[in-house]
């Protein structure tokens, strides 16, 4: 009967209830969409980085991430590789050689990060092969090179042109190698495109004089959310296999992409702040509405008290009315938000007009909003809570009424 009474009390002044309800509906729907777009952007940023280069886990020689020296190749990598092969959570892995040098064409030259890759395995840990916009992916033959569109423009070269890569080997001697451009790619990250070129691993090893060593092993696991636990398992397995932890460093994408993880944290905090600001606006609306509602019903509250309703019951009744408004508003707002979200999440939001800015942040032109648990929890719980909190003051006002005074109220 309490629920029935609360609903009927809310319907007594339909317009007033509708105004507060609308503010909750719009607030929930808008924040849900804002949050899901943000989540979609950040997820995309993260996924793009993982897929284009970082993978889930990377293994290097200890200290490589701080100082990327050619001489910092993984010691006894075959032993490490054997350990990796035994881990059931490892879906794929690929070995890489990394060099820093210069790429020259007949017209120009540019600084590069040269990734020597195993073309077949690399396809299983990164999707660089999907980003080719001209030509084709490395076939496995020697002296093929994959460069970005940006690099091609800078060097004024095109498919089939020859370029020379130069880099210092492990002894400090500068070596060079002639490559033919077999493919031109365009990734989602402008900074990546500025410097990364791909060559067969054997060519990179030759230039650097690395023998059959590797600088990096990239791993894709079965579950990207469990990388921290996989890292622990891998470190422990390597220790058991005699690989000392002070020689080899295992890094998860969370560690490698610290800036993006930091952005995710900021986004989560910002989104809570935005929710709180909207909730605060709703809260004041609720205080106003419920105060008016209480003042209009002083006499009734007096009657309720006189027939034996306790103060706590009066308090609960007022809170329930506000809470119901919050719940109904949230459900409708959530429903509307999801209805708008669904087609957007399927078709995406085309932000092609901001293409350059998007690429600067490692984003595609089309953003797909994502409803993650954070977004859902924020949307569902904050508004009903805010409405209930907003009703506390009016409810306390109602509780403080004296039945005899209240019943005299006209």
């Amino acid at each position: 009967m309490f629920f029935k009474m609360a609903i009927r009390n809310l319907l007594r002044n339909k317009r007033r209830t509708l105004i507060v309800l609308s503010s909750i509906i719009v607030g929930v729907a808008a924040t849900l969409l804002y949050d899901s777009i943000n989540a979609g952007m950040i997820n995309q940023m993260l996924v793009n980085q993982i897929n284009s280069y970082y993978s889930h886990i990377q293994i290097h020689k200890q200290g490589f991430n701080d100082n990327k020296l050619v001489t910092s190749y993984i010691p006894d990598y075959k032993n490490v590789e054997e350990v990796i092969q035994k881990q059931d959570y490892v879906r794929n892995y690929s070995k890489r050689v990394i060099a820093f040098g210069m790429l020259s064409s007949a017209n120009s030259s540019a600084g590069i990060s040269m990734l020597g890759i195993e073309p077949g395995n690399e396809k299983k840990v990164s999707n660089i092969y999907k980003m080719i916009i001209e030509g084709k992916y490395l076939s496995g033959k020697s002296n093929e090179i994959l460069i970005s569109k940006k690099m091609a423009e800078k060097l004024e070269v095109t498919l089939g042109d020859k370029v020379v890569a130069m880099a210092a080997d492990i002894n400090g001697k500068v070596n060079s190698e002639l490559f033919r451009i077999i493919g031109i790619y365009r990734s989602h990250t402008a900074e990546f495109d500025k410097v990364f070129v791909y060559v067969p691993i054997e060519n990179a090893r030759t230039i650097l004089g690395l023998g059959d060593n590797v600088s990096e092993i990239a791993i894709i696991t079965n579950n990207s959310d469990s990388t921290l636990s996989y890292k622990k398992q891998l470190v422990s397995a390597m220790k058991n296999a005699g690989v000392e932890s002070n020689e080899v460093e295992v890094s998860t994408y969370q560690e490698l992409l610290a800036m993006i993880m930091y952005l995710i944290d900021i986004w989560k905090q910002t989104s809570i702040i935005i929710y709180l600001i909207i909730a605060l606006a709703v809260l004041f609306g609720v205080i106003n509405t419920m105060l008016m509602s209480v003042f209009e019903r002083v006499n009734e509250i007096g009657v309720l008290m006189s027939i034996g309703m306790r103060n706590s019951g009066i308090f609960r009744m007022i809170i329930l009315e506000a809470f119901m408004m919050g719940v109904v508003g949230t459900l409708i707002g959530f429903g509307i938000g999801v209805l708008i979200y669904l087609p957007l999440s399927n078709n995406g939001i085309n932000l092609g007009m901001y293409s350059e800015s998007m690429q600067t942040f490692g984003l595609n032109n089309i953003i797909y909003p994502a409803l993650d648990s954070n977004v859902i929890i924020n949307s569902i719980f904050i508004m009903p809570l805010a409405t209930a909190v907003g009703a506390i003051y009016p409810a306390r006002k109602a509780m403080k009424l004296q039945p005899t005074d209240a019943m005299r109220h006209v």
């Binding site: 009967m1 309490f2 006499n299 009734e300 309720l304 008290m305 034996g308 309703m309 005899t404």
Partner: protein, 227 residues
């Protein structure tokens, strides 16, 4: 058997900061099954006295006993429970809850007592049939006449089998015929169910039916010693 006893009750309230003595040295006893009327002119303190008897208000001085127990200094929540379980109220302006139907209004106090849905529905319907208002069950107060509303209010007041029912000028807003019919009803309840009624009224129709009459003037009982 004594239900209510007031001993040397004073009530002083402040009206815009000025102390006003509403009741002065009230000594009064009400027995089970009585049909009591507290009469007096406007401003004599009838409603204040009724509120103190009904534990809606507390005396400034003196003691209030309910079934021999001193309830003067009980907590607000305890007084709420006393009102819920032992006292029924009938008001001049009926004061039914406007969002509830007649049936729901009657059921409401039973809900506060925690009675299950079916039981309270059955009990409410029974009392409505007894009072000949069953056809009003699904009507809201704004669809009922004053007399009908007051009958529903009577049903609400007696449905929990209270120790006493307090009626504050219950006929004041009713025409003579309806008022008499309502008083007949309450008298019947008093005689058949032995429900104790205490009225505050200056209506002759009510005063004439009193088994016991207290006349108040300037906050004092002026007809006898209140026993």
């Amino acid at each position: 058997m004594e239900i209510i006893r007031l001993e040397k009750v004073d009530k002083i309230y402040k009206d815009h900061g000025i102390p006003v003595q509403a009741l002065k040295e009230i000594n009064l006893t009400i027995d089970k099954g009585n049909f009591v009327v507290i009469a007096g002119p406007s401003g004599s303190g009838k409603t204040t006295l009724l509120n103190i008897i009904g534990s809606l208000d507390v005396p400034t001085e003196g003691e209030v006993f309910l079934e021999g127990e001193n309830i003067t200094h009980r907590k607000k929540s305890e007084l709420s429970t006393i009102r819920l379980r032992k006292i029924g109220f009938i008001f001049q302006a009926y004061n039914l809850l406007p969002v509830l139907t007649a049936l729901e209004n009657i059921e409401f106090s039973m809900m506060l007592l925690g009675l299950p849905d079916k039981e309270r529905h059955k009990k409410a319907m029974k009392i409505m049939e007894e009072l000949d208002i069953a056809e009003l069950a699904n009507k809201k107060p704004n669809k009922m006449s004053g007399g009908q509303q007051q009958r529903v209010a009577v049903a609400r007041a007696i449905v929990n089998d209270p120790l006493l029912v307090l009626a504050d000028e219950p006929t004041a807003n009713l025409d003579s015929k309806t008022a008499n019919s309502l008083l007949d009803l309450m008298q019947k309840m008093n005689e058949e169910k032995n429900i104790t009624f205490v009225f505050s009224s200056h209506d002759k129709k009510v005063i004439d039916r009193a088994k016991k009459l207290f006349i108040l003037k300037d906050g004092m009982i002026v007809n006898g010693n209140g026993s």
